[in-house]
Amino acid sequence: MGVVTANIQDPHWGMYIVWYFFLGGIAGGAYFTAAIADYFGGPRERQMAKIGYYIAWPLTVICGILLILDLGTPSRFLNMLREFKWQSPMSVGAWGLAVFGAFATVSAVLAYFERGPMPVLSLSEADRLRYRRLVGLVGTLAGFFLASYTGVLLGSTAIPMWTESRLMGALFLASAASTGVASIALVAWLRGLDLGETWNRIHRFDRFAIVWEAVLLAALLVMLGGAAEPIVSGRYALLFWVGLVAIGLVAPFVLQLRTGHHSGRPTFALALPALLVLVGGFVLRYVVIMSGPYHG
């Protein structure tokens, strides 16, 4: 039975929601990292940006499927789109996912038809790149939204562990950036892509995201105070300290300091920090969602 105090009812948000928060974060993070690199970076970053767009699009589709599965009855998902309520993150989030999906689709299509003949729209290759970078820049805002609104949603509930800190959205954003760029690194390694010096840029950005996430996490724990009990010393403490703090934050940060890369096929040493970051990102969503109703 999920109820431990008379004043809190368990919403029974389970693994579908954990996976949605995790993959939605990656989709948003991979997209805005790719789009920023695509717009402000040089030609070398184009290849990395394309990976980001290719990650974001299928994940968006999976995110929609996860939410529909969580509701149980697929057609009822449409009820989410009956209204638009500013003060309801659930409502804004449903619309936001749809808007993000549109950007992710356009970006992935423009990335796929980077060169050669293009069906339907006969754009020149230069125009395709120009539009792709512009769409990405605007879509970055949708990426930021998808990456963070889930934390704001938790903050607007009555469950102490979720709501007694004002930083859940900010923290999820940092984790989304980290897991997003990590997923790009992992795909680049799996496909054996020679990203050259971009690897060092990826690691530099990820190190910054990890530090920012650690700062926000510390501030969040301070703000939560006693409400953080389930994750810092209670039922989920081991997973939190080992899975998130040690494996997900400290280890990849240290490993990235020690790995440099300039050319050739990426080695596993380049991908290992990315793998650990992804583990940490999943553990963060898992412990936060699962521990919410089990306070005290």
Partner: protein, 262 residues
Amino acid sequence: MAATMTQKVMYTDTTICTGCRACMVACKQWNQLPYEEPEWTGGYGNRSHFSDKAWRFVRFIEVDDPRPSHKGEVQWLMMSDVCKHCQQAGCLEACPTGAIHRTAWGTVDIDQGICNGCRDCVASCPFGVIAFNADTGRVNKCTFCSDRVPAGMPTACAKTCPTSSIRFGDKEPMLEMARARVKELKAQGFERANLYGDSDILGGLNAFYVLADSPSVYGLPERPELPQRNVNLDSALAIASSVVIGLAALVSFRDQGAGRQG
């Protein structure tokens, strides 16, 4: 007719509740709610929380007598608890579909045909009232007998209550009655007697209570707040975090000109 209705309330004077549980039975019967296994509460209560099948239940609370003149004696407090029908309702604000709505008589109800089972309202109720119904994939709570009130009938629980601990009626006269009762209780030595659910609690509760002791003694939050009050600040901080990360990405990936390696 509905548009011109006045605010309807349930006023529960917990001090005259005898714990007979007739309200629970009436609620189950009128709303055709199925049986649930009782819960071992360690006391006389047969449950300690709301569910999709239990929209009203009596809390049995054994505490030190709140009257200084009865120091050391045990006082048995009883309270028939129900959805508070808040004027600032977390569930209603959270609901993305519009299924949860304000009725013409000021209460909060769920349209079962529209609810899609997202459960954000469940997490957003400061009183733990709304519960998920696994059979229908939707959420349930007290409807304030929305199938009786428009027809001029009181709620089933209020109609049944043999001590009139639960009363149904128009808001203002009921509030007056409750305020007078608090004064009476204070005169009798219940120094902490209070009206729970005037406009100071979530803009006013359409199911309010006269309590003999502090709200927390009854398991009620002393100062419940609308969960959605956090949305603006949390969003602003998430945007600030986005700016920090966005700038870091810009600095990390920006084109440093022809001189750069690769």
